[in-house]
Amino acid sequence: MSHLNTKNREAEVLRQLIGEMRETLPPSINSERISAVLVETIEAEKRTRPAQTHGTGASQWLVFAAAAAFVVVMLSQQGAGQDPSTDGDRRASISAQAVDLRTVPSQQADGEGVPVYRVAALRAGVVVESQAEPVRFRLDGVVTWTLAPKTRVRVRTVKTAPHEIVLERGSVFAEVKPQLGSNELNETFAVIAGTSRVAVHGTVFSVQRDGDRVLVEVTRGAVSVGPVAARGPTTGRLLVGPARAAFTTEQGRLAADQSFPVAHAPAGADLDQEAAPVSDQLQPVAASPSEPDASSARVTLPRTRPVMAARDVETDADGDDADAVDDARDNEPDARDREAELDPPAEPKMSIDQARAMVLACLNSNRDGGQPSDLQVTVSSEVSVKLDDAGKIRAVRFSPPLKPSLQQHCGGALFGQRLDAQGAASFRIHFAPQ
């Protein structure tokens, strides 16, 4: 009888759960963008279809690609005669044809001798793979991105904002033009690497992928790093340049932030070399104080700098981060200050002041690239945070509330940070445009 009751109870609960799951609606999708991408892809495929019917075999193209100078743009595989419905993994690779970049409209090589191609000539779904040399693409007025050698990206969107690329291998360096005249968090460019999304609003940065680890380096401006799956603007972690951090996932969450020294070598200077694995770059720089090597100059961020990369410094698996050495170039004006930062902070928790500075930096990051702020209002608010047992911020409230986009941006920056407080804390912020 008891057994029967248990079974009945299980069935009843199961019914309840099924009902509740049915009632749970999926989040809304950006159907406008998807529709635009679909139309764009379909139109592009229509244009290429006649060429395919004239005996442009896969192997022929592959041989052609192999002979191509340094770069091929590959469209993904679409096996003829196969049932595409069973082939869901191939969207990224449409067909086995490869197109020599010499057929893609290009502009003259820039000052660094790197050829520049027009993003507008690409289409969604195209895979671009650099060979022995770097290659650069420009979307006029929006972004210039450069692939390091042996890097592979898939173009996700071209004509619809934000322009998105998926980094499948190697590293990409990007310079995004700030979009002035709007207080909104307009994402003009984003790089998806694995399950992370790096969204920018005007900055100079690079993203490197090594399996599930993603290395983000911000030369100037700010970028947000968050999960691909999240809706709306990416707000997971904010990196304010100059900063550098590695992101991995841990137990299904964005485990940020193995921060480590910032390279002060000119952005993109490493492009002549094949992208090294992130794990290699995470190793401390074995610099000799007597023989400074400018090409491998590494500095740590000043402890007071209100950037996310400056906190939560954790030793890596080898525990070697503590040995990171500052061999900043002599002409760095604040090199001496940075030398004081040879070791990561012993206490990874942020102080209230640092949290306040982070919010202000976040508000400030709404302007970019030294341009006048597009945030022309004074912000004054009380920030209340709630912490979990580990001291991590789990809830952020602004009183009075800020504009939703700003609140999401700045609240997202604080979320998950470790704060030197118990249970809850609050502080006031006052931001005035300069």
């Binding site: 079974k7 109870r9 299980e10 069935a11 009843e12 609960v13 199961l14 309840q16 759960l17 099924i18 509740e20 799951m21 049915r22 009632e23 749970t24 999926p26 989040p27 999708i29 950006n30 159907s31 963008r33 998807i34 529709s35 991408v37 679909l38 139309v39 892809t41 379909i42 139109e43 495929e45 229509k46 679409q78 049932d83 595409p84 419905s85 069973t86 082939d87 869901g88 993994d89 969207r91 779904g125 694995g194 399950t195 599930d212 999960p227 691909v228 799956a229 999240a230 996932t249 841990e250 137990q251 299904g252 969450r253 964005l254 047992d389 789990r394 809830a395 979320f415």
Partner: protein, 205 residues
């Protein structure tokens, strides 16, 4: 065959866009049910419709378009799952995940959200084949015959998988604290279940 499908087959982009608008909801729902809240639904939906476009010429109208669309969607979702298997997935934060609905109090809504999350975790624990038929039948309300056409197996196999899926889920419910409390409760007050879970968690810590 649906006129819109015929026009889309003939290469009419507008007709295809109309098909997308008409069926995007179903595809999004299937992807959400099968992949959970951490999935990149935009990407999956886009991928499904690209596959639909590419395979439309091979659609002969021998089954309903929606059945065929389900088949494409399920295949794309399964391929996406396999691809992502080697990668850790993101779990969204609790706050803001479940919008208040139908006048439920915030506590009840939170409790409901937690139960749904727990249920999704349970579904992750059963095999892919069983999970697929369970979701398509129990959550999406598809008939075993349609599911058989979707996953390309006999109807009897679908029924067998459903039986074992239900049994495994019932057993697994005991492993989820919030659901265990629900099983033990008399009239299943959702908030109590959550409170019990919270209390248990705080005891553990």
């Amino acid at each position: 065959m649906d006129e819109m499908v015929v026009r889309a087959q003939a290469g009419d982009t507008q007709a295809f866009t109309a098909l997308f608008e008409q069926h995007k909801g179903i595809v999004t729902r299937i992807a959400f049910r099968m992949l959970g809240p951490s999935a990149d639904l935009d990407d999956i939906v886009q991928e499904v419709f690209l596959q639909v476009y590419r395979s439309l010429p091979s659609f002969r109208g021998q089954s309903k378009f929606t059945t065929w669309l389900h088949r494409v969607s399920v295949n794309v979702v399964l391929m996406s799952r396999r691809r992502a298997k080697s990668r850790p997935s993101y779990v969204q934060e609790e706050a803001g995940r479940h919008e208040p609905a139908r006048g439920l109090g915030p506590d009840r809504e939170v409790a409901r959200g937690r139960r749904v999350e727990a249920f999704q975790r349970l579904l992750e624990k059963i095999s892919e084949k069983k999970r697929t038929v369970f979701i398509l039948h129990e959550i999406e309300g598809m008939s075993p015959a349609d599911i058989a056409a979707t996953v390309e197996c006999p109807v009897l196999t679908v029924r067998t998988r459903l039986f074992y899926a239900r049994r495994e889920i019932a057993q697994l419910m005991r492993t989820e604290p919030s659901l265990e409390a629900l099983l033990d409760g008399s009239s299943a007050p959702p908030v109590d279940a959550v409170d019990a879970t919270r209390a248990k968690e705080s005891d553990d810590t």
